[in-house]
């Protein structure tokens, strides 16, 4: 095996892993803290990419603006969804949350398909990130390097926020024992809403990262989302660090598979999921 080519593939795998990590992070935050499977995650990721496209096309604001505005805008949409719809379902079986978000995903994707067709909208890499670096064993596009670094920063910041700060402590306590925490004067419903908004914002951010290199189309989320679910299941559905590590790890494994046996690269993650479930049903980092 050509070690040069191998390094190249590993690096690519790491880059893909950062997308998986970002998206599964959002899902893990929402599930870990709210016990909701957010089926709309893929559609909201797509929404983030489209907001970036609109900002450029209609308002003339470029990539760097989109990085800030899109997550906030889509996060706001998430807040509305949570306030109006999800909050009514907390007392019920969690499966209803799944079904509701599934329906929302259909609405979003259907509406965008109707308006924009499927060939996709053009979106370019910002000028400051264009070009490639010659690393010797491969040419690495600058944009991809940016994606790895930015994702790592975002992932670890989120992890830090939730596991190590006071706000995070409140969030985790609020979901474990809402009435008790509420009696301490903490506004629990607001915490929950913010959490959902945060998770959704992360998805939208991933969408902005994706816009310059993947096709900005209404269907971009649905192909990705099922793989991300598998990642979250493997990592352990409530564990935030678990999702981050699993996301990167699976990206690398998938990258290797693409080099050694490309035909299997779309199914390898599911196969791993099946194996993990047999041996350790709670996932690699999950608690029973």
């Amino acid at each position: 095996m050509n070690t040069q080519a191998l390094f190249g593939q590993l690096l690519i795998g790491l880059i893909n892993g950062s997308f998986y990590a970002l998206l599964s992070l959002g899902l893990a935050v929402i599930f870990g803290l709210l016990n909701i499977i957010n089926f709309a995650h893929g559609a909201l990721y797509m929404l983030g990419a489209f907001v970036a496209y609109f900002l450029l096309e209609k308002v003339g604001l470029g990539y760097w603006w989109a990085l800030v505005i899109a997550p906030i805008a889509v996060g706001a949409v998430g807040v509305v969804i949570e306030r109006l719809m999800l909050s009514r379902l907390y007392k019920l079986d969690h499966l209803y949350g799944l079904l509701l978000t599934f329906g929302l995903a259909l609405i979003l994707e259907g509406a965008f398909s109707h308006e924009f067709g499927s060939a996709g909208m053009p979106y370019s890499i910002p000028d400051s990130l264009q070009g490639v670096q010659n690393l010797g064993f491969m040419y690495l596009p600058n944009y991809r390097a940016w994606v790895i670094v930015a994702s790592l920063v975002v992932c670890f910041s989120t992890w830090f926020l939730i596991e190590r700060t006071k706000l995070g402590v409140y969030l985790r306590a609020a979901t474990e024992n809402p009435s008790l925490v509420q009696s301490f004067g903490v506004n629990v419903p607001r915490m929950i809403t913010l959490t959902y908004g945060l998770g959704v914002g992360l998805a939208a951010l991933a969408g902005v990262f994706a816009a310059p290199i993947y096709q900005v189309s209404p269907q971009m989320g649905s192909s990705l989302i099922i793989v991300v679910f598998a990642v979250v299941v493997i990592g352990g559905m409530g564990s935030i660090m678990g999702s981050i590590l699993t996301g990167f790890g699976l990206g690398i494994i998938e990258g290797l598979t693409k080099y050694i046996y490309p035909e299997a690269s779309s199914t390898v993650i599911f196969v791993i999921m099946a194996i993990v479930l047999m041996i350790r049903p709670q996932g690699l980092f999950g608690q029973r």
């Binding site: 690519i12 499927s118 053009p122 596009p141």
Partner: protein, 403 residues
């Protein structure tokens, strides 16, 4: 009755029977545009095909010729079940005489069977599968516009002849991609080229960087994209990111449409080589037709699928008028094969015994952004493949209609 009288009566009866056959079913020639209005192929066909069909009816001057023609449409959502349901219902209970367009090969093949069973007409413009005029050919079906053989042959041969003789394939790992790769490889080898490597990629893969790296390492002059739709668009976008074209290799899109190039943007798609059978900017006639088309489509320019629907409907109506009848399907298609075709979009051509419409194919290269002077000004012509070479020879079809 004397013998003479009997003969007269018999003759009269025959004449009446003959006249009864030579009539239009339900007094209306009904054409159904069945395609994808909401999903993957909505831009390619969609409402544009309906506009094209209606334009054909207008241009044929049906009213003046005493023909009542109606155009309806429906969305098969890329599902063969929905497609067969709609087709059966249309043919059986709604008096539809001909179904046109139908992209998505699985639906096209299913509708092909329905049309055959019910002895109606099916004119396909959107689907790629060459089985429609091969192993699954039918006397009720005409396949217009393009097919996988033509794409493989057109692009492959023309590129090899102009110097692109080493190839690396990025193939979508399913029947369609494999067929495209197989057909193109045969053409490349036959014309003295070489395939130095390839990789099979699962359908729907978003990230091609890994495969593009392998293509770069192979140093092949041409990277053949044996895939379609979103896969192609992603491959091209990411190839530009990795500086593939700048590094001296060229991309050959084996199934790329104008709408895909529009979605990718010229800065990323420039230099891409592809084959189509119609381009709006070819000559004055196509330009005039396009002007009328975009007035109705809200500014969306026509694809070759739209052009195929227009030309197919026009020719169908000619055949119906000549026969003075729109049924049975077999007879109308026979008439379509008898009459030579002539329309402003494809020029002069014919329909062969296997149902294959024959016309020129064109090898295009996508312009650089600086070379584009207006909306949808995307292509420059690199070569014309004459009609008699563009499509699979009859003897290689495997079609039972070809003796």
């Amino acid at each position: 009755m004397t013998f003479k009288m009997k003969t007269l009566v018999a003759a009269a009866a025959l004449a009446l029977a003959g006249a009864a056959q030579a009539q239009i079913s339900g007094n209306v020639v009904k054409i159904g545009v069945l395609n994808d209005q909401s999903g993957l192929y909505a831009d390619l066909g969609g409402q544009g095909s309906v506009i094209a069909a209606k334009m054909a009816v207008e241009d044929f001057k049906a009213k003046e010729k005493g023909l009542n023609v109606e155009v309806i449409f429906a969305d098969h959502q890329n599902k063969p079940d929905v497609g067969t349901q709609i087709a059966s219902r249309w043919y059986d209970t709604e008096g539809v005489d001909a179904i046109v367009d139908v992209p998505t090969s699985s639906v096209a093949l299913a509708v092909n069977e329905v049309a055959r069973q019910k002895n109606k007409v099916f004119i396909d413009s959107g689907a790629a599968t060459s089985d429609l005029t091969g192993s699954k050919c039918s006397p009720n079906t005409v396949h217009w516009t393009y097919d996988t053989w033509m794409l493989a042959n057109g692009t492959g041969k023309a590129i090899v002849k102009t110097g692109g003789d080493t190839w690396f394939f990025i193939t979508a790992d399913y029947a369609f991609g494999a067929a495209l790769e197989r057909d193109t490889t045969a053409v490349i080898v036959k014309n003295g080229g070489k395939v130095v490597g390839g990789v099979k990629v699962p359908l729907g893969t978003q990230d091609f960087s890994s495969f593009l790296l392998q293509a770069q390492a192979s140093k092949a002059k041409i990277i053949g994209l044996a895939n379609a739709g979103g896969d192609t668009i992603n491959s091209i976008k990411q190839a530009s990111e990795f500086g593939i074209v700048k590094g001296g290799q060229n991309l050959a899109g084996l199934l790329v449409f104008l709408t895909d190039v529009h979605g990718i943007g010229l800065d990323k798609a420039q230099g891409l080589i592809l084959t189509e059978t119609f381009y709006w900017d070819m000559n004055d006639q196509t330009r005039a037709w396009t002007k009328r088309f975009i007035a109705q489509s809200g500014g969306k320019y026509p694809t070759m699928v739209h052009a195929g629907v227009y030309a197919g409907v026009l020719h169908y109506l000619k055949a119906v008028a000549a026969l003075k009848s729109d049924e049975p399907g077999i007879k109308v298609v026979e008439e379509m094969k008898k009459l030579p075709t002539d329309d402003p979009l494809f020029g002069k051509g014919t329909i062969r015994a296997d149902g294959r419409k024959i016309h020129n194919a064109y090898l295009f290269e996508v312009k650089k952004p600086s070379e584009s002077k207006g909306p949808y000004d995307y292509y420059k012509l690199r070569a014309t493949i004459p009609a008699d070479e563009a499509f699979r020879p009859l003897k290689d079809d495997g079609c039972s209609l070809v003796k």
